[in-house]
Symmetry: C2
């Protein structure tokens, strides 16, 4: 298999996910332009991604007609492509954040230091810093160098994030602009039920945490107030960095999914006040279980 560039690889991974989740059934025709629009890119990288999947026998290529979904092979599971979780796990960003949280790097660093440590080109470094700046734990110094902020290094960080969430999330549901979106609710129900069905067993820890975040962001998204959403996303991204490092309590995941489903049900019935209350209790419960075992 030829060394592929990152964008086609990412797209290939996403297409696989679409197939796995059944949103692209066996035999479906994958139109290049359609997929390109969906991912917000041009046809070139999509074509490469499709070619890649054809090489791996996930798709079938018919000359002049395009690519079609093949029936899944048992062996395909064994292939175990890196996947997005894996990518995130081993990514430079994760290592950088971990190094900082574990005090392996100083609180002021030069670009050269980072480039050398993580073997990065200038553009890659810019990407890394841009992301960390967006997430709020890195800022540029006045002269040379970057400052790493200790926001998430304190033992209280977890609690502080939850206090913000407990304020915003229940309130969001009571905002006048809150509009129930049944499509979103159905999608989230599907995800939560799937997670519950496999008992959180076969799933990567990253996936569990991420899906949880996405559930909450989807709920807040229905306020139609992008500033609420941003505030939450920001806190959540930071929380994920912390959460990945903690051991996931898989029994807790069951409770969590159940509560998520209850919230969905309440919203579907339009009982906003009840949903808001349950959301507050849900977050309070999570906080109570996590606060005791403070990390670091």
């Amino acid at each position: 298999m030829a060394r592929a560039s990152p964008l086609p690889l990412r797209i290939a991974q996403e297409i696989r996910e679409l197939i796995r989740s059944g949103r692209l059934p066996v035999g479906a025709h994958l139109a290049t332009q359609q997929l390109a629009d969906r991912f917000g890119v041009s046809r070139s990288p999509v074509r490469e991604a499709l070619q890649l999947l054809a090489d791996r026998k996930v798709l079938q290529l018919r000359a002049n007609r395009g690519f079609f979904v093949r029936p899944p092979r048992a062996s395909a599971a064994g292939h175990a492509a890196p996947g997005p979780d894996m990518a995130e796990r081993s990514g430079v960003y994760r290592r950088f954040a971990d190094d900082w949280l574990d005090d392996r790097i100083a609180d002021e660093v030069t670009e050269q230091f980072l480039r050398a440590r993580y073997r990065l080109t200038k553009a890659q470094l810019t990407d890394l810093l841009m992301r960390a700046v967006r997430e709020g734990w890195v800022e540029r110094k006045a002269g040379y160098g970057w400052r790493l902020l200790p926001v998430a290094k304190t033992p209280e960080a977890f609690e502080q994030i939850y206090r913000l969430r407990m304020l915003i999330e229940p309130a969001a549901m009571l905002e006048p602009g809150f509009r129930i979106d049944r499509a979103v609710l159905a999608e989230q129900r599907r995800i939560q039920e799937e997670m519950l069905a496999c008992g959180a067993a076969g799933m990567a820890a990253e996936r569990l945490v991420l899906d949880g975040s996405l559930f909450h962001e989807a709920m807040i998204g229905m306020t139609g107030n992008p500033f609420f959403v941003r505030a939450l996303q920001q806190a959540n991204r930071m929380r994920r960095l912390l959460e990945y490092r903690a051991r996931i309590d898989r029994r807790r995941v069951i409770t969590q999914c159940t509560e998520h489903l209850q919230i969905i049900s309440l919203l579907e019935r339009g009982e906003l006040a009840e949903a808001s209350q349950l959301m507050r209790r849900h977050l309070g419960g999570a906080l109570a279980r996590k606060a005791p075992r403070t990390r670091r």
Copy 2:
């Protein structure tokens, strides 16, 4: 006067502000290392800044003894250095944001386009994009190019920001971690009184809006919860972009300062619940006056 690099210029500006506000009295000795520490840079740019101010006769240079604050000259006011407000006003970032808010640029742009339009080098462009990404209205596309998000382009943006503020700010004062910091209160009182004293007349609109933002951020800062602060800062930065474009109602500023001072008084007396309520009313009042004249 020699063409100076930006960092020394910025530092010179800040030192001027320190002198103007009386925090550096006439005759004071400016130790390079001390100032360097204060601004988080090395002595090199500080030295240049001091040299610059000595050239402009703001400071006196005594050989081998360093720089000293001179008595202010009436003529100095006429000099009218650009100042930070002016810098912000005419800055590329402002132009970029304005162009986007006024629909002068498309919602997807390439780096080349931006470099050509604003005459930027690669590093300057990176800075510009980094800032806009941090503020939350620009994001990278999957392939080439950047996407500009319409968060602040809708007529509701103002109201949405205020709804978030009305949720967070009063709640922050009731958080268990909220600790009154008398030094901060005194500083804010000084600023607000100064603003009130000159009747908001001689001050740049930018300054008025910025000081208002800083007051609110200082209040929230006392929660000790950096995630509250970040959520607010983010919303405020976006708000400033919108606010600068609107005509400032200078009578409104008087009311605002008065209310700010009342909040400070309540906090100084430890009446948190009252302060929190007043804060909510204060924000509600501001929203009520602004919402009617929706822009765009």
